[in-house]
Symmetry: C2
Subunit: 412 residues, 2 copies
């Protein structure tokens, strides 16, 4: 059995968290804002690559900035076992989302080095570009292109809120590599990640075996009304795009509360009215709708409900743009079993659960047997928030399971 250095893992997590650190006024804590392809992300990438090289890994960067660290196997010709995640973050993040999987993978290699252990198959530690999708609007972008669901051209042409093109930003930070972005199918892919939810904490498990990822639907909605004077325009003559947007937000919450759509979660993360001045009835409102559901049929029904509601709104026009849409992705039973058996042998009790968040693993699942290891989060598993926290012990338990699962798979 491989034993990891939990202090080394923890210190790496904390050191990476200093890149993009900011004072979060809402929580009074220090948060992390390391959005994809920013200078902070570039600094994080350089720190990671330095650590990879120190660990003896052969580092390559592909055309989309995905980073790969190769540890050669006894039989180099065999397909590798890939372990990875992402180091980009949302604007109000903590230290663990994504980073635990990448630095956990690094810790696996460091521990194998300490033990002078070789594996039959090569081991690859991967860090995927723009997993969060908050800067360029498409999440799991790097892994989706690597696995073939999206094209490189699509990714390059995405623009952020300031109109900056992803392809240009990739060059600007010096991470447009030569390695072809399309990934040869690995032997297996295993990703360790914080749960970002309350299930493991509620059930009393430090580690979970992930059975799959729920369906995700992202839409950008623009409502068109008519600008009018706030003081004189009679209420019945108004076409208020802002009011309509507010009604959509309230309706989504009612959809969730109705129970008709199972375990549906609905979030309007962005809502803005235009022209956005006190004395003018808004002529335009823009909002994003994030729907999640572990059941594809119930997700489709929820989307149909929303579409009908938008259709019936008393506005001049409704424009909807699909930002992301994934069906429920089941993980490979054999990889799940490998994780569960390994944890048993380590004396670490686990439970099975589905992921509420999207992960790079769901993209890799399209080309290779895949599963994930979840680590318990504190404070109801709050995430995408500086309060996000997992204990050093729980992180170590998850990465120990990751390490020994990787060795098991790399030996077969």
């Amino acid at each position: 059995m491989i034993t990891i250095d939990s202090q080394r893992l923890w210190h790496s997590l904390m050191e990476l968290a200093e890149l993009g650190a900011y004072d979060d006024t809402a929580t009074g804590l220090v948060g992390v804002n390391r959005q994809s392809l920013t200078d902070a992300d570039a600094a994080g990438r350089r720190l990671l690559i330095g650590w990879m090289r120190d660990a003896g890994l052969d580092v390559t960067v592909d055309e989309l900035g995905n980073i790969f660290g190769l540890r050669e196997g006894l039989e180099p010709a065999l397909a590798p076992v890939v372990i990875g995640s992402h180091i980009d973050s949302v604007a109000t993040a903590g230290a663990f989302d994504g980073c635990l999987g990448v630095l956990g993978g690094l810790e696996v290699v460091r521990s194998l080095n300490d033990a002078d252990a070789r594996t039959r198959r090569p081991l690859v530690v991967a860090a995927w570009t723009e997993e969060e999708g908050i800067r360029f609007g498409t999440d799991m972008l790097g892994s989706a292109v690597a696995a073939g669901r999206l094209t490189l051209e699509y990714a390059y042409d995405l623009v952020d809120a300031d109109g900056l093109r992803l392809g240009d930003e990739l060059v600007r930070i010096g991470f447009k590599g030569d390695r072809p972005v399309r990934l040869d199918p690995p032997y297996a892919y295993v990703e360790c990640h914080i749960e970002q939810g309350p299930v493991l904490a509620g059930q009393g498990f430090a580690v979970g075996v992930v059975t799959g990822v729920q369906s995700i639907s992202w839409q950008h909605v623009t409502l068109h009304g008519r600008a009018a004077h706030a003081g004189t325009t009679p209420t019945e003559l108004r076409v208020d795009a802002g009011l309509a947007a507010a009604q959509v937000v309230v309706h989504l919450r009612e959809m969730v509360a109705s129970g008709k759509y199972g375990q549906l979660r609905a979030t309007v993360g962005r809502l803005q009215t235009f022209p956005g001045v006190p004395s003018v009835v808004p002529d335009r409102a823009e909002l994003t709708v994030d729907l999640r559901n572990p059941d594809d049929a119930l997700m489709a029904a929820a989307e149909a409900d929303l579409a009908a509601y938008l259709e019936a709104l008393p506005v001049l026009r409704v424009d909807t743009r699909r930002m992301a849409r994934t069906t429920m992705v089941p993980f490979d039973p054999k990889i799940q079993e490998a994780i569960a058996t390994t944890a048993d042998e380590l004396g670490i009790p686990t439970m099975r659960l589905m992921s509420g968040a999207g992960h790079d693993a769901q993209e890799l699942a399209a080309i290779t047997p895949t599963a994930m290891v979840f680590v318990r989060g504190q404070y109801d598993g709050i995430s995408h928030n500086p309060r996000e926290y997992s204990t050093p012990e729980d992180c170590a338990a998850g990465v120990t399971v990751l390490a020994n699962t990787a060795v098991r798979l790399a030996s077969s």
Copy 2:
């Protein structure tokens, strides 16, 4: 009786509207965006001053950029009759709001010149700074400081959305004048303005005599929630500032619909969530609330209802900031009578009505007998919108009433 040149008036309106003109995508029309103290506003001010000087007016600019054009009277020592309005606009404006009152005042002087007519009292045409209040957040600003309700220091220290200080912008565009901003009480103030509502059109009158201005309440509200992951945070554990803001918007509409608050109008012109990304539950939402009511008691009751609703919202904290608050302002009965009698003698039928919008006249009413002349608007009187329109005939009728009312008052 003074006869005005309606074509000259119309051409001046259309020429001024070219400054700040933009293509409005929502309406497909050319709109006007001439916000206070912008370069477009400065260009408008220079055009106006040129016209004033061509008409023989003695032009002075005060410390807040308010513009005055003096036409000397037979008895220069007497307090003048002031006629005016504003030429700044909202971001999505038409050609008439404010401009009709200023260029109407100019047309009064031009017509008196054509007729070689002198008045006993001096006549002053005034253009007030930042009436709309959309750039610096306080409407009727120039007239409020001139009439003594607000201080010059308060005005100078206001900042726009980009953090630009009003006092600095005033210097930048070259309109910080030497004339003391505090205005010596005139003999009377009369303002001609488009109705910006459907009443005159509905009742079939081209011109209305305004009895007063309804109460106006502007508040800026910030709701504080907790950022959380959109995919994993259970609905019952969320503190969603965006949902709370949407509920406020819907509640305000319900307050209006309830009828409990008389002729209350409620508008949320600005609503924005933060951090504003699809996968993060908003930790903050900012909105503006614009309430109007012709009845002070019902306005107070509506504000109390809103305050109680905000108090009960399931958020971490609610911050409210008062942006503007005026009680109902009744206009002077004698000035109303002078307008009505003059219109009768001109054979122009009028009706009395209250203003739904705030106007500089309500500030002047604090220091001098004041009333307003309203001109019918087309398309339900839509305003703060490029569709805003009054016919050349209706504009001429209103300015003819303004001219002869001014002469009547200036002769007494």
